[in-house]
Amino acid sequence: MTAASRASSLGVIKPEHAHFDDVLYLESGEVLDEFELVYETYGDLRSDGSNAILICHALSGNHHAAGFHSEADTKPGWWNTVIGPGKPIDTDRFFVVCPNNIGGCNGSTGPASISKTTGKPWGSLFPQVTVIDWVESQKRLAQHLGINQWAAVVGGSLGGMQALQWSVTYPDWVAHCVVIAAAPGLTAQNIAFNEIARQAIFSDPDWCGGDYIDANTAPEKGMALARMVGHLTYMSADNMSDRFGRELRHGSFDPDDDEQPIFQVESYLRYQGSQFATRFDANTYVLMTRALDRFDLAATSDGDLARALEHASAEFLILSFSSDWRFSPARSREITTALLAAGKRVTYSNLESDAGHDAFLLEDADYIALLHAWMQRVAA
């Protein structure tokens, strides 16, 4: 943590844990007899509980959204650009809650947790959870914290899907809803990318049908490949050209050179893949991608998105990024159009960016200014 980053950030944050003994009935029909959530909070909850904001994380995210975990920590939480004192999600005004979702691998109950029934890691036996299940578990956390309405529910990508789901499942709970770089349901192309990632994991001999922890191994090669595919789809072609071009990392095309030529982009993707493989659980990755695939807000209204949203009472902010092709602006416009048709209060912006889907996590002056301006209406 440098002096500069410390000044504009929350400093050292300690994650908290909550244990829930009541059965959680899952959308799949299965049950979790009990579960644990790890979460972080930033700012202070007002005595009337009116200033709470829920942050929903995306596929590879977790509860560590802002601040640092120690004085020596150099990497802040994944949304430190947006959450903090004086930032768009202003911790001087709001009490911000960010849990790690169930099924995750950062401390909340998930496939790597020990199952009480078997005394072994859940592994392949961990039930499939969905966006609706996350909303239920997040609601339990809210009640545990003494919150009975969110001033805002905010999320990007898979997190945006949770925010949308909150607005229709518990309309009275959600005063404001911020949906960034999301979609009302994945396209066939998007599901296909997730399936390639899963097949990469399944094809690793160390996958062991999902019970690799028991076998004292991990499908790191498969995970790295899955992440390479995923990561590629989060960037834009222009952005990749700018960053890597055709530059070589090692070797040359000289026939006399013994070293194989390796492009910068190859080296980058391999690094991203192998880093991810060591920090993320394969079962969680499979589960999260399936939760993404299964999310379909309009499923219960015969594909009519406006009807699906008719009971929502939140004021909405829908954001997309111009170069995002994994969750394209067209998908955000679908949500916006449905909200308008349903007579809901909505603002939509398609922000100019060449960073692809990743833009929602990056610092950009226009993005920050717009979010900051909109958040002023959220009463603390």
Partner: protein, 196 residues
């Protein structure tokens, strides 16, 4: 820049609590005024991110989009009033826009600078150059105003498009002259129109 009198004219025409769409809302001054004075349920459309951000600080709701994309995301008769204030002249296809706004609004309000104003005529007549005025300071080759029209042009277009003019108000140096002979003396004109 909109004339103050046009803003007052528009505000006078918008009913309390009505559903309003402001096309080309800019930084939202008109919407903010209508929200405050008329308690409207309003939404703006604008393409510019900076405009949007400024409008959002005023608590307004805005959809970022090119208003000339045919506005497919709005349904017919979705609004009580659709406003095009001082931006008809910047559109590529103003006739298509007029046709569309009387569909999505029960009524539309359109205001624009009158290019038939005597100063513009005199300037072109005497100098032989495209007029530049305080209100319209751009050079012909670098101006957002690509489709100027006169009061007479607009009214003729409405007839062609089968659009009914419910009411007209003009503003000029001497408003009584502008009322009698708007095509020459009106600096700007505002119309309430609807589909016939």
């Amino acid at each position: 820049m909109m004339l103050r009198s046009d803003v007052e004219t528009i505000a006078g025409w918008v009913g309390n609590g009505s559903k309003v769409l402001d096309l080309g809302c800019g930084s939202g001054d008109l919407l903010a005024k209508l929200s405050l004075e008329k308690g409207i349920d309003g939404v703006g459309v604008d393409i510019d991110t900076q405009n949007l951000t400024t409008a959002l600080t005023k608590g307004l709701r805005v959809i970022q989009q090119d208003m000339e994309d045919g506005l497919p995301n709005f349904e017919n008769t979705q609004f009580d009033v659709v406003i095009i204030a001082d931006s008809l002249q910047v559109l590529k296809r103003p006739h298509a826009m007029l046709t569309r706004v009387v569909q999505i609004g029960h009524e539309a309000i359109v205001s624009f600078p009158n290019f038939g104003h005597w100063r513009s005529r005199l300037s072109l007549l005497l100098s032989g150059r495209m007029p530049k005025t305080k209100a319209l300071p751009y050079s012909w080759f670098d101006t957002p105003n690509i489709h100027f029209c006169t009061v007479a042009d607009f009214e003729s277009l409405c007839r062609q498009l089968d659009i009914e003019i419910i009411e007209r108000k003009v503003s000029g140096d001497r408003t009584y002259l502008a009322k009698i002979w708007p095509n020459i003396f009106a600096k700007s004109a505002s119309y309430r129109i609807r589909h016939r």
